[in-house]
């Protein structure tokens, strides 16, 4: 399926958010995810089913002022 991941279109054979993160090699426990403008908590990624053209944001900590 095609998704918009961090602003870029990607074709990934994933049906859940957890699968997508795994297939795209997003690692570590310091990730925050949102799908179509809604937060998806870490514990909910396994059962969060994705749909064609879902907009997925994957954020992690960085320096800030």
């Amino acid at each position: 399926m095609k998704f918009i991941v961090n602003g870029e279109e990607q074709d990934v054979a994933a049906t859940t958010l957890h699968e997508l993160l795994s297939l795209l090699d997003y690692q570590g426990r310091w990730l925050a995810t949102a799908v179509n403008g809604e937060l998806v908590r870490s514990a909910d990624r396994v059962r969060h089913r994705l749909a064609e053209q879902d907009r997925i944001e994957i954020l992690s900590p960085m320096q800030g002022g």
Partner: protein, 257 residues
């Protein structure tokens, strides 16, 4: 002690973590500043990356509290979602709320700021709003649930120092029991001392330390200035006068003519 949402802190300096020449320089500045609170942010992670995790693990080793921000957000929905994602990652209800209204001045959109603060306070966040020095906006933010106010004293990163001391004094006078933190515009330690002398509770700095030739030495200079300003405020300062007043008593002076 500085009390923020029920937690007490010894240091009155909050330090940003951006723009340091290296992670080591950041860590050294944090340690030397004696700060208890650093600001952090969230950005898009790259696939196979992990740089964000490495950064945050370094911050955790410093033993300080983190205040996540919503930097770069320009709308209510963006700021609300960013705050929720920050809570998920950083595991704190604290959020430094920034809703930017102008690209050049980075002035907050105070209307969106108040609306976002109300939403986030209702969802259990403890909001630290980056705002202007406008008294009415401050009142609205308190009505929205904020228990800390963080007015700028000049635009972010401008290093101009307190541009409108009258407005800062008015905020202090109107909200004697609300922690007031100057959040932006400080360029040098004397600026920090001035706002602390006005009775502000703390100062939040980033660029003035991070972009100094020696960030660690500047962090120490700010820590000393903030402490000096606080002690001066508590000691009670002389108000300016129009005329000279002799410091040596005149009575009893010898008469030689």
């Amino acid at each position: 002690m500085l009390s923020l949402y029920g937690t007490d802190f010894a240091s009155r300096l909050l330090l940003g973590t951006a723009r340091y020449p290296s992670p080591a320089a950041l860590a050294k500045a944090v340690r030397i500043s004696r700060t208890n609170i650093v600001t952090v942010s969230l950005r898009r992670e790259t696939a196979g990356g992990g740089s964000g995790g490495a950064f945050f693990e370094m911050i955790q080793e410093l033993g300080v509290s983190v205040l996540p921000n919503t930097a770069g957000c320009h709308s209510v929905s963006e700021a609300v979602l960013t705050a929720k994602m920050a809570r998920e990652v950083f595991r704190t209800d604290w959020i430094k709320l920034e809703v930017i209204g102008h690209h050049d001045t980075l002035q907050p959109d105070v209307f969106a700021l108040v609306e976002t603060a109300r939403i986030l306070s209702g969802e259990g966040f403890q909001v630290f709003p980056y705002t202007t020095d406008d008294l009415v906006v401050a009142e609205k933010l308190l009505e929205a649930g904020c228990r800390v106010l963080m007015p700028w004293c000049a635009p972010i990163g401008s290093a101009m120092g307190p541009a409108n001391q009258h407005a800062l004094r008015a905020l202090r006078a109107h909200f004697p029991d609300i922690p007031l933190i100057v959040d932006a515009g400080i360029g040098r330690p004397s600026h920090a001392a001035v706002v602390m002398e006005l009775g502000f509770d703390a100062v939040l700095l980033n660029t003035a330390v991070a972009a100094a030739a020696d960030p660690a030495a500047m962090a120490n200079a700010f820590a000393l200035a903030i402490e000096a300003g606080r002690q001066a405020f508590r000691a009670g300062m002389l108000e300016p006068r129009d005329m000279a007043v002799p410091s040596t008593p005149v009575i009893g002076k010898g008469v030689f003519q």
